[in-house]
C-alpha cells in the first residue's frame, strides 16, 4: 500500500498545521500567535460596572427646568415653582390665565419635544405635568453608557494597561478586563471616579453650622471637605455651604497635569479652553473677596478667596494628594467626567502568583493523568494501545493548535477541559478496540475485523460525542469567562478526538496491517 494516499496527505496537512499554530506558544516563531491565557491564569482584574444612567436623565431634566425658567423670565411669565418629580417628570405651577397661556406659548415655541399631560386646575392655580418622551430618555441612557465606555477607555489607556478589553455588556453594563494589572485598587479607584469638577461659590451670607443642623437655604447645599491631619493620621470633615449654581465645570478643560507646590506637595494644575478661560475671567472678576469652591464629585477640595480677576484660564486643585492620587486625578480630568456615576457590580481579581500556581497545578495534573492513560492503553491494548497513545498526543497538539489558531482563551476550567478530553479521546479508541476484539473472536481476519469494527463503532462514537458537544455548545452560549474557556477546549477536544479516532487511528491500523504480511493484530 502506498504511503501517499489522499487521506494520509490530508492527515499530514492537518497535523502539520496544528503543530505550526501550536509552536509560537513555546518558541518565538511564525505565525507569532500564542495561546491567550485567561485572567485566572495570567492574573488580572475582571470588572462589571453598572452605569447609573438614570442620573444622566435626572441631569437632563434639571437642565430642561433651568432652560424653561430662563425662557419664562425672558417672556415675563410668572410661575409658582417648577420642579422635578421622582419619576423624572416636571411639575410647573401657574396662577391666572395670562401666565398659563404665556407658558403654553413658551412650550410650543421652545419645548416642542416635551410631552404635556392634561393640566390640572384647582381654585385658581393650574398645574402642568411635563415629561421627556420615552424615546429621548432611552437615548440619553444609551448615550450615557456609550460615553462612559469611551471615557473609561481613555482613562485606562492613559493609565497604561496592555491589551485591556472594555465593552458594553447589554443595557447599562460595562465589562472591563485588565490582564496583568499590579495595583487593582488604584485601577478601580480611577475607573470608578466620576470626576465631575465644578466651580461653585460659597454662600457667605448664611451660617454653615445652623444649616448643618437644620435645612440649608434655598439654592444652597452642604458639601464637605475631607481634611487629612498628618499629625494624628485621622481626617475630619468640614462642612461648607455651597451655592447650587454651577459657574463653570470640567467640560471646558483642555489639560490637567501634576504640578508641585513650594513644599513639593503634588497638586493638579488645570487649564481651560478659550471659552472656559473667558468664563473663569468673568466669575473671578465679579466675585472678588468671595470664596470660590472647587468641587470634585460632591466634595470640596478647596475654597480659596478670590483675590483678583484671574485671566488666562489656569487653576490648581490642591488636597493633600499622594503622587499617584494626583496622577490619577489628572488622568480622570483629562479623559473627561463620566456622564453618570458607575457602580462596580462584579469583580474578579486574580493575583499573578495564584495564576502561575494554577498553571503549574493544571499542567502537573494534565501530565500525570496523561501518563496514566498512556500506560493504561499500552498495557491493555499492547501495540494497538500505542497507536491510541499516538492519537492522544496528536489530539493534544490539535487542541493546542486550535486554541492558538482561533485565538481562543485558555482558562483554568479550560485546562480541566483538556484533561477531560484526554480521558474521553481514548474512550473512542476503547469502543473501537473492543469492537475489533469482538470481530476477531468471531473468526474474521485482522484486517476485516478492523474495517468492520470501525464501521460498526463509528455511529456509536459519533452519537456519544454529539451529546457532549450539545452540552459544550450550550455552555459556550451561556457561560461566562472561565466557563467559556472550558466549553471551548471541550468542543475542540471532541472534534480533535473524532478526527484522531475515526480517521487517524483507522488509517494507521489499516496501513500497518496491509504492509505487514502477518494477519495477526496486537490488540
Amino acid at each position: 500500500m502506498k504511503l501517499f494516499t489522499f487521506k494520509s496527505v490530508m492527515i499530514f496537512i492537518v497535523v502539520l498545521t496544528a503543530i505550526v499554530c501550536f509552536l509560537p506558544t513555546f518558541f518565538n516563531c511564525w505565525p507569532h500567535k500564542k495561546i491567550n491565557l485567561g485572567l485566572d491564569l495570567q492574573g488580572g482584574m475582571h470588572l462589571v460596572l453598572e452605569v447609573q444612567n438614570i442620573k444622566a436623565v435626572e441631569a437632563e431634566v434639571e437642565r430642561t427646568i433651568q432652560e424653561i425658567k430662563k425662557q419664562l423670565r425672558k417672556e415675563g411669565v410668572k410661575h409658582l415653582g417648577i420642579s422635578r418629580l421622582k419619576d423624572n417628570s416636571i411639575l410647573a405651577k401657574f396662577q391666572g390665565d395670562e401666565n398659563k397661556s404665556g407658558f403654553e406659548t413658551v412650550l410650543s415655541k421652545n419645548f416642542e419635544n416635551l410631552i404635556t399631560h392634561k393640566p390640572q386646575a384647582d381654585e385658581n392655580n393650574i398645574t402642568f405635568k411635563l415629561s421627556l418622551p420615552e424615546k429621548e430618555t432611552d437615548n440619553i441612557k444609551k448615550m450615557a453608557t456609550e460615553q462612559a465606555l469611551e471615557t473609561i477607555r481613555n482613562r485606562i489607556d492613559e493609565f497604561g494597561v496592555s491589551e485591556p478589553d472594555i465593552r458594553i455588556q447589554g443595557g447599562n453594563r460595562i465589562l472591563i478586563q485588565l490582564p496583568g494589572i499590579t495595583d487593582p485598587e488604584r485601577a478601580k479607584d480611577l475607573i470608578g471616579k466620576t470626576a465631575q469638577l465644578t466651580f461653585q461659590l460659597v454662600d457667605e451670607d448664611a451660617d454653615v453650622n445652623s444649616a448643618v443642623n437644620g435645612t440649608p437655604p434655598v439654592g444652597d447645599e452642604i458639601l464637605y471637605q475631607n481634611k487629612y491631619n498628618p499629625g494624628s493620621g485621622t481626617s475630619t470633615k468640614i462642612p461648607f455651604l455651597i451655592k447650587k449654581r454651577v459657574l463653570l465645570d470640567g467640560s471646558l478643560l483642555t489639560n490637567a497635569r501634576v504640578e508641585f507646590d513650594q513644599f513639593q506637595q503634588p497638586q493638579v494644575g488645570i487649564e481651560f479652553n478659550r471659552k472656559g478661560a473667558r468664563i473663569f475671567d468673568r466669575i473671578t472678576g465679579e466675585n472678588i473677596h468671595k470664596r470660590l469652591a472647587i468641587v470634585l464629585d460632591n466634595s470640596v477640595y478647596s475654597a480659596p478667596v478670590i483675590q483678583d480677576r484671574i485671566a488666562g484660564g489656569k487653576a490648581v486643585i490642591t488636597g493633600n494628594f499622594t503622587l499617584n492620587e494626583a496622577k490619577d486625578l489628572a488622568i480622570a480630568l483629562r479623559a473627561g467626567s463620566l456622564p453618570a456615576p458607575v457602580k462596580i457590580i462584579e469583580e474578579r481579581t486574580v493575583g499573578p502568583t495564584l495564576g502561575a500556581d494554577s498553571i503549574r497545578t493544571g499542567l502537573i495534573s494534565m501530565v500525570v493523568g496523561g501518563i496514566l492513560v498512556v500506560l493504561l492503553m499500552a498495557v491493555y491494548y499492547k501495540k494497538a494501545g500505542l497507536i491510541a497513545d499516538l492519537a492522544l498526543t496528536i489530539n493534544i497538539i490539535l487542541i493546542g493548535g486550535g486554541l492558538a489558531a482561533f485565538q481562543a482563551t485558555l482558562t483554568l476550567p479550560g485546562i480541566a477541559g483538556i484533561i477531560l478530553t484526554i480521558g474521553m479521546a481514548v474512550d473512542a479508541n476503547v469502543i473501537i478496540f473492543e469492537r475489533i476484539r469482538e470481530e476477531i473472536r468471531s473468526g474474521k481476519t485482522a484486517l476485516a475485523s478492523v474495517i468492520s469494527g470501525f464501521d460498526r463503532a463509528t455511529l456509536t462514537i459519533l452519537d456519544a460525542n454529539v451529546t457532549t458537544i450539545i452540552a459544550a455548545l450550550v455552555l459556550y452560549q451561556y457561560g461566562t469567562g472561565p466557563i467559556k474557556g472550558f466549553a471551548i477546549t471541550l468542543c475542540l477536544g471532541i472534534i480533535a478526538s473524532l478526527f484522531t479516532a475515526l480517521i487517524l487511528t483507522k488509517s494507521v491500523l489499516i496501513f500497518i496491517l496491509k504492509n505487514k504480511q502477518s494477519s495477526k493484530l496486537s490488540i
Binding site: 486574580v350 497545578t361 492513560v373 491493555y380
Partner: protein, 343 residues
C-alpha cells in the same frame, strides 16, 4: 490484556431490584438533604457576596484573622483553611459587597495585618453583586434547560429513529414552556414542568429508549447535586459546567448499551426472551462501558488531587457524575426500557 472476559455473563437484569433500591435511597437522601438545606449550597456566583483568598508567609491562627475582621465590622465573615496546611492559605467569605470603589480588600488586608502582625498576600478577590448573582442563576438554569431540550430532541430522534416524533416532542415541549413563561413562573418551576412534560410525552408516544435515557440523566444530575448538598460543598458556576458535561457524558454509556440492545433485538418477536437479550447486551458491552469510565476517571483523579483548590470541586463533581453515569446506564436506563417494553 483483558480484565472483563468476553464470555462474561452476570445476571445484571436479575439484580435490578438491588439497583432500584440503591438508586431510590440515593435519590431520597439527595432530595432530603436539598429540602433540609433549602436547596443547594449556592456559592457567591449565584447569591452574591465576596470571597477573598489570602496567603501568609507563615502559620497564622484562624482566630486572629477572625478577630481582625470583626474589628472592622465584618461579623458575618467566615474564615476557613484553603488547600494544604503548609500553604497557610485562607478563604474569607462575607456578604459585604464592595459597592463603592473604595477598597474593601485593602481595608481587610490592613485589619488582618493589625491583628496577626503579618501582612497577607491577597491572591484572589471575587465580588458578585446580588443583581449579577440573580442573572447568573438565571443563565445557569437556562443552560440546563436548553441542553436538556436539545439532548431530548437528539435522543428521541436518534434512539427511535423517529425524527418526526422527536420534532413533535420538541414542538410541544417548547409550546408548553412558552405558555408557562407567559404566566411568569420562576425558572426552576419552568424546568421541572418541562421535564415532567418531556417524560409524559415519551410515555404517550412510546419513546422507550428516550425515556430510559432521560430518566437516567435526571437520576445522575439529581444525585450529583444531592451529594454536593449532603457534603455541604459550594455550588458555583464550574459545578454547572460539570453537570452539563455529565449530562452529555453519561449518555455515552447509555448509547453504547442501547445500540447493542437494538442490534440484538432485531427480528426477535417474542417478548419472553427480552430480559435475557437485554442482559446479554449489557454483558457484551460491559467491558467498554467500564473501561471508558476508567480512562476518564484516570485523568480526573489526578486533577482532583493535584489540580489545586480552585478546580477541586469541579473535579469532584465530574468524578461522581462519571461513576453514577456508568452505574445508571446499566441499572437505571436499561431496566426502564425493559419495563416499558412490557407495557
Amino acid at each position: 490484556m483483558q480484565i472483563i472476559k468476553s464470555d462474561i455473563n452476570i445476571d445484571l437484569i436479575g439484580k435490578q431490584k438491588i439497583g432500584f433500591a440503591l438508586s431510590l435511597i440515593l435519590i431520597l437522601l439527595s432530595i432530603g438533604s436539598l429540602i433540609i438545606h433549602k436547596g443547594p449550597n449556592f456559592g457567591i456566583d449565584f447569591v452574591g457576596g465576596t470571597i477573598i483568598q489570602i496567603k501568609f508567609s507563615q502559620q497564622v491562627p484562624v482566630g486572629k484573622i477572625r478577630s481582625g475582621l470583626s474589628n472592622i465590622g465584618f461579623k458575618d465573615a467566615s474564615v476557613q483553611n484553603f488547600g494544604h496546611d503548609q500553604d497557610h492559605e485562607f478563604l474569607i467569605r462575607t456578604s459585604n459587597l464592595e459597592m463603592t470603589s473604595k477598597g474593601l480588600s485593602q481595608s481587610i488586608s490592613e485589619a488582618i495585618k493589625a491583628s496577626t502582625g503579618i501582612a497577607p498576600e491577597i491572591r484572589r478577590v471575587e465580588m458578585v453583586g446580588p443583581q449579577v448573582g440573580k442573572d447568573l442563576r438565571k443563565k445557569a438554569l437556562l443552560a440546563m434547560f436548553y441542553s436538556l431540550l436539545f439532548i431530548t430532541i437528539y435522543i428521541s430522534g436518534r434512539f427511535e429513529l423517529k425524527w418526526m416524533l422527536s420534532g413533535v416532542t420538541a414542538g410541544s415541549l417548547m409550546t408548553a414552556v412558552y405558555f408557562l413563561s407567559v404566566f411568569n413562573v420562576s425558572m426552576a418551576v419552568l424546568i421541572t414542568a418541562a421535564l415532567v412534560i418531556t417524560l409524559a410525552l415519551f410515555w404517550v408516544l412510546r419513546l422507550k429508549y428516550a425515556m430510559g435515557a432521560m430518566v437516567a440523566l435526571l437520576h445522575d444530575v439529581l444525585i450529583t447535586v444531592g451529594i454536593f448538598s449532603i457534603l455541604n460543598l459550594d455550588f458555583s458556576l464550574p459545578i454547572i459546567a460539570a453537570l452539563l458535561t455529565i449530562i452529555g457524558y453519561s449518555l455515552n454509556d447509555t448509547i453504547i448499551v442501547f445500540d447493542r440492545i437494538r442490534e440484538n433485538i432485531k427480528g426477535v418477536k417474542t417478548m419472553d426472551t427480552f430480559p435475557t437479550l437485554f442482559n446479554k447486551s449489557i454483558n457484551q458491552t460491559l467491558s467498554r462501558t467500564i473501561l471508558t469510565s476508567v480512562t476518564t476517571l484516570v485523568v480526573l483523579i489526578p486533577l482532583y488531587f493535584l489540580g489545586g483548590e480552585i478546580i477541586h470541586n469541579f473535579a469532584f463533581a465530574m468524578i461522581i457524575g462519571v461513576i453514577i453515569g456508568t452505574y445508571s446506564s446499566i441499572f437505571v436506563a436499561t431496566p426502564i426500557v425493559l419495563a416499558a417494553n412490557k407495557r
